[in-house]
Subunit: 164 residues, 2 copies
């Protein structure tokens, strides 16, 4: 159960995120090429926000042991701050791939109601991919983050760590 | 004193807001006319977010007695949800003007450090003006909201209610 304040924070984030997505799309021309540029723009916004958040969150945090320890922090503390819940499931191949899955992703909520929007879903995931990538980057991990929607509103993020 | 979660929410909002402001400005051409259009765009974003928030907040709220009652709600509940503190001072001429002042406005924080940004300050106030106007609009009050920075980071918002 979420408190009233948590629901309000979630609503604020949801509304701001929607404004960002539609702002980026409105300011660009239509067309497939431009769509790619919008995704990149949103991903970069997420990246900077993720960096800023991690900077503030890890001030009083103990040093991390390893990559798995960092990924657990992202799935628990970081995710809870932003989305008011943890990532439901974290899997890894114990090399460089981590799969984070959530049964109910905040920004996919509206697709429950308006099924026509399903094809545009990636524009609602780009910011969050950037958020994860930015957070990891500030903890010294270079990564590629992609997202996949199998069945709404469930969602899977894949983090591929780029070894130096 | 703020909790860790409140500080995190504040940071998230601050970072998202900064991304919105710089996103709107980056996507526009430079020049004075365009600057006016950016302000309007940010104000409109704030308006829609304010409408959305009030819609969610007032679901279980008792009906308001009058305009002063509504303004008090905006200064207490609404402001606390968004900014994690109340408006410090509310004054009215008991006709149609309300002055809301706050000694430390969240989005003016960076100006403490970089004084050069002081002239651009209105771009950091437009979204919040819209937020108030959108909130009031959903409560049936048509208004014009302006902002004024006398000494950083203090800030005053003026609400002029438009009688029908």
């Amino acid at each position: 159960w979420k408190t009233k304040q948590e629901m309000a924070d979630e609503a604020l984030f949801l509304l701001l995120h929607n404004e960002m997505v539609s702002g980026v799309y409105k300011s660009a021309e239509q067309g497939e090429v431009e769509n790619g540029r919008c995704i990149t723009k949103l991903e970069n916004m997420g990246f900077r926000v993720g960096q800023g958040l991690i900077e503030r969150f890890t001030k009083d945090t103990a040093r991390f042991k390893d990559e798995l320890d960092i990924m657990k922090f992202i799935c628990k503390d970081f995710w809870t701050t932003v989305f008011k819940k943890q990532i439901d499931n974290l899997r890894t191949n114990h090399q460089s791939i981590f799969n984070l899955s959530t049964a109910k992703f905040l920004h996919l909520r509206k697709f429950d109601q308006w099924k026509v929007y399903v094809f545009c879903s990636f524009q609602y995931l780009a910011f969050t991919c950037g958020l994860i990538r930015g957070g990891l980057s500030n903890l010294g991990i270079k990564s590629i983050v992609t997202a996949e929607v199998s069945s709404m509103p469930a969602c899977k993020f894949q983090v591929m760590i780029q070894k130096l």
